[in-house]
Each structure stands twice: as structure tokens, then as C-alpha cells.
Symmetry: C2
Subunit: 204 residues, 2 copies
Amino acid sequence: MSQGLPAVVSDDGLTTRERRNRPILAVHTGEMKGKSTAAFGMALRGWAIGLPVAVFQFVKSDKWKVGEEDAFRALGRTFETTGEGAPVEWHKMGAGWSWSRKKGTEDDHAAAALEGWREIQRRLAAEQHGFYVLDEFTYPMTWGWVDVDEVVTTLRERPGFQHVVITGRDADPRLLELADLAMQTHKLKHPMDAGQLGQKGIEW
Amino acid sequence: MSQGLPAVVSDDGLTTRERRNRPILAVHTGEMKGKSTAAFGMALRGWAIGLPVAVFQFVKSDKWKVGEEDAFRALGRTFETTGEGAPVEWHKMGAGWSWSRKKGTEDDHAAAALEGWREIQRRLAAEQHGFYVLDEFTYPMTWGWVDVDEVVTTLRERPGFQHVVITGRDADPRLLELADLAMQTHKLKHPMDAGQLGQKGIEW
């Protein structure tokens, strides 16, 4: 396990320190929920070095809850009580975005998704957080609810030092082109193939 | 995002509830550190449902520290002070395993790795934890320091309800054969390819 040496020497005119401290856009795509798990794992690291974390889950149901939500909320309280780590916010579309508290209906997922993205744009412009997880955000793009070119432009031109991690299947090639880091998780073997149902603490 | 339906109906004679609550052996293998990140993400979920978490990092250096360590230690303190979640232990080989405090030398990584595995065997037999992360544990097996067949037998016959997640490149086929869940993370694109060095909060 090494910290890794670059395969080629970059010709971008930046110093090592500047390169080391560049904000990252990461995209986790491919099969399975491993991609969100990996994104939340990256956010854990961000929290640990003091980057304010904000998670935006583009999920339809307010009943969907992953264990990571409890854990990150606990980490947010750790920051509030001890100053260790960083603040944490966790927002879910299906519950009605917490800044609007407008409960969605079956019909207006498109409007809700766009409203979520508009808020993220405002926060990026204001440099409100240090580490953004846009969970399942490829789907609103795939379905045409959020414009891919607009996302790419906003992310490319985001000010300051803000890491962004996007998860979801079928990431658009334009998004992958912009990404600094793109990962795909393949299942080699999964218990659901053998007829096992998902279980709490493993699947969600 | 759905909780998933099984692709085939299992013929193992278990009830749905029994199948849903089966302890999982997961192996995250393949390129990149995404595999550890994903394993720690799974452990977050385990913590959230109250499974005592124990991490064993089979890393050579005591200087190596990932952000997840701070985050999990904070979660362990959350449990101690509020009862939320579950206890957390974090052990590293390179620092000298915390139960022995014997600092390793360059020459005895093999002995240290085997000592770590022996302790894990004892804890599995005693059902000491609910969620084990054996990080980078494929390497001691690859190098012959820990016997693969013994690992497979111990894991297959572990009592009670104990999830185990193993990470590392080149997982042995016998281990993959036993695994309930095996995931491989491929990089599509990585900043190191463009000459960027690893950065704190992203790479470790």
C-alpha cells in the first residue's frame, strides 16, 4: 500500500503542492450499490480532514434510508460537540428537500430533481461546503430532468476548493470526460444471484 | 433505487427471514484503493444497525493512516457517550497490533501478519464482533504468510452472526469461491494518470 507515484509527469505548470490540492470531481458508475458506498467512504475521508460534507440523495422515496445517513449524522454531531471533523448535511429528494420541505408527488420528480440541482448550483457558487456527494444524480440527467451540459459547465467553473462525487449508473460521457476520477464497480458474485434477499446493514 | 428482488428463487430450505439474516463474507478485490473505501462504507452500515465493528489493517507502516480511522474512532466514541450505533475497534499491523504492542521490524512482517490472523481466529471463535474488516488481507495470503485453506475453513465454520469483509488485490480463487459477495472496482480514469499526486482526504 503506497501513496502512489504518478505514471507520467504532468505538464500543467502547477507546483506539486498546487496539484496535490486540486478539487476533485469523481464519478462512481456501473452496477450495484457499491458505487454509493464508495462515495460515502470518500466523504468519510473528507470529514476527517475537516471538509464540510453535504450529501444530496436523488432518491424517489422518503422511506429509503441507508445506514450511512445515521453514521454521518452522528459524525455531524461529533463536530458540533467536540469540533472534531466537520459539519455534515444530509438531504433527500423523496422526503421533500429539507430547505423547501415541499413533499413530492409521483408526478413531479422531474421538478424536484431540478430544484435539488438548482440548490446545489447556489451552494457551489457560494462555496458552502467542501465535499459534495450527489448520490444517484446520473438518473435525473439520463431522464432529461437536469441538463448534462449545464451540470458540466457548472462543475467545470465551480470556484474555490470543492470536491464533488457523483454516483449512479450510466454516467454521461461528457461527465466522465470532465471527471478527474471515474470508477466502475463490477460484481463478480452477489448473494442475490443465489436467491438471497437484500439485508439491512449490508444492502442498505 | 430498489431493495432488489432475487434473480432466482433459492432452494436452500431457509425461510426468507433466515436468508435475510445470514452472515456475509464479502471480498473487495481489483485495482485501486476504492476497495477499502467500499469496505469501510459497508462497515458504516454495520455500525448504524448496531453491529460491533473491528477493523484489522494488514499494512506495513505505522505511519499509514486513512481518514476513515478518525471517523470510525469518532463513531466509537459516539457509541460510548450516547449508546447510538456500536463499539468500534481499529487495529493496525504496522504499529504493532494493539493487543500485543510489539513493534514490528522489517523482517517479521510474516510473523506479524500471522499473529494478526491468529487473533482474528480467536475473536471469530468467541463471536467478539459483528462486522470485521480485514483490510489488505489478501497480501499476506498471496505471499504465503497466512494459509489460504486455513482462512477459508475458519471463515466457513465461523459461528453465530459475524459479517466479514476482506480487501486487497488478487484475491485467491478459493476465497472468492467461499464469498457471498465479491466486488471488483475498475478505474476508468484516475488523476494519477495525468501526473497528479495523491492528496489527503481523497487518496488516504
